[in-house]
């Protein structure tokens, strides 16, 4: 079973339907036991870094994610759901001075892209890492992005890079932890295939 963590963020219906195309049972829930036991946990996220962290903490999602990290249980962050796996984010820094702390699973901060037109909205290609599990057979495909902030600093993890204004992290594979800055659930056939690549590994 796959659980999609429900912490009050946006359109989860598409995510549920997209992950269900793999044949897995998919539930949208904040129930701690279900999230602990599911073969895969999806951490979605739309809106802003700060409000997402707030929502995550409100349902104890931080503890659920850390526990899955300790036990190396497969977990998949999408968009802001990926960003909050980093150390900090500077979105909404104008209203709330200083960066918002993230879960700190990965080093680095999530900062605004340097581009005249934001958000980075639409279909873009990525350069997938060698021996990628997520991008297997999908190296030439495009994926759907909607974001103004991104992680840009190199780390030792298996990274797919993309470019818009800056070079930024489009996806990460780190043992049991996976994440994409783009929305695979909105990336048509290529996105569904990427989701299947992940669920096949569960």
């Amino acid at each position: 079973m796959i659980a999609i963590l429900d912490y009050g963020s946006g359109n989860l219906r598409s995510a549920q339907r997209a992950f269900a195309t793999t044949g897995h049972e998919v539930v949208v829930t904040a129930d701690r036991e279900i999230c602990r036991k599911s073969a895969g946990l999806v951490v979605p996220g739309v809106g802003a870094f700060r409000s997402c962290m707030k929502g995550l903490l409100a349902v104890g999602g931080d503890e659920i994610v850390r526990e899955r990290l300790n036990k190396q249980q497969s977990t998949f962050g999408i968009c802001i759901g990926m960003q909050i796996f980093f150390e900090s984010g500077t979105e909404t820094a104008q209203e709330f001075p200083g960066a918002t702390p993230g879960l700190g699973i990965w080093k680095g901060s999530v900062d605004k892209l340097n581009a005249p037109v934001l958000p980075h909205m639409g279909w873009n290609t990525v350069s997938a890492p060698q021996n990628s599990l997520l991008f297997k057979g999908l190296e030439e495909e495009s994926f759907y992005f909607v974001h103004s902030y991104a992680a840009k600093t190199e780390s030792h993890k298996k990274i797919a890079w993309a470019e818009y204004g800056d070079r930024f992290i489009a996806a990460i594979e780190d043992e049991a932890f996976f994440a994409t800055q783009f929305h695979p659930e909105k990336s048509g056939a290529a996105g569904l295939a990427l989701i299947k690549n992940w669920t096949d590994s569960l």
């Binding site: 946006g10 037109v117 958000p119 873009n124 992005f145 909607v146």
Partner: protein, 257 residues
């Protein structure tokens, strides 16, 4: 690695049915929005837009159901516009499976609605639809309502600038002069609005020939919306994309999968 231009077909939906000039031969039922959405997805549409033109509230409820059924089958971004007046309306559409909403009249009546929606759901869900025509305002472009029939005396460029400050995530620029003419997008209007918008700009109204699409991109559009040329089968989305790709634009070709 470059962001692709987007081609967005727009479907007018009234009480759950696609209306206004749809002429397909390869569909069982050309009036079914879910079936048409799937077809456009297969032909390589980068996003879909539904414009709800239902007059009654029961018609609007039906649209929610259409959005739900479409989101169950089509996994590309879906924008819904028409008659959205409140944060509550937006919430209902997003929960049904819409990814973005477009607003027009309600934002003109009460610009604070833009900030309310952006603060609640993020700017990325909010498309501001600007129905503009040439008129004697400061910039020479005026915002209209009621499908271009009513003037507002609001300058289109000033409105776009203000809306970007209030937090819209995208501008859908409809030329009321060019709409339905198939004589080409209003390039002067796109060029005038482009520097005022720091968010993506979707051009709409007037698409006729292949060259029209390229010209609108050259004028500064990030995405191109069209209705009748696709509905009447004058161009297929895949043909437009192939043309643009050959002409050197970055285009997402339909997945090989």
């Amino acid at each position: 690695m470059t962001l692709s231009i987007r081609i967005i077909p727009c479907l007018d939906v009234d009480s759950g049915r696609v209306v206004k000039g749809v002429n397909f031969t390869n569909l069982v039922d050309a009036g079914d929005p879910v079936e048409m959405a799937s077809l456009y997805d297969r032909e390589g549409a980068d996003e879909l837009t539904f414009l709800d033109i239902s007059a009654s509230s029961s018609g609007r409820d039906t649209t929610i159901d259409v959005v739900r059924r479409t989101a169950d089958q089509v996994f590309i971004p879906l924008t819904v516009g028409g008659g959205i007046r409140s944060v509550k309306d937006v919430n209902a559409l997003l929960r049904a499976g819409a990814d973005k909403v477009s607003i027009n009249t309600a934002a003109l009546a009460r610009p604070a609605l833009i900030a309310e929606i952006a603060d609640t759901f993020g700017s990325q869900v909010l498309v501001l639809s600007v129905d503009a025509r040439r008129a004697r305002t400061n910039s020479g472009f005026e915002v209209t309502t009621h499908g271009g029939r009513k003037g507002t005396d609001i300058d289109a460029l000033e409105w776009v600038e203000k809306a970007c400050e209030l937090g819209v995530g995208e501008i859908l620029l409809n030329s009321m002069d060019a709409d339905g003419t198939r004589a080409g997008y209003d390039l002067g209007m796109i060029r005038a609005v482009r520097p005022k918008a720091n968010v993506p700009l979707i051009a709409s109204g007037g698409a006729g020939t292949m060259e029209d699409f390229a010209a609108a991109l050259d004028a500064g559009a990030d995405a191109l919306l069209a209705a009748s040329v696709f509905h009447f089968g004058i161009h297929r989305i895949s043909d437009v994309k192939e043309y643009l790709s050959r002409s050197g634009y970055s285009v997402r070709m339909p997945s090989k999968r």
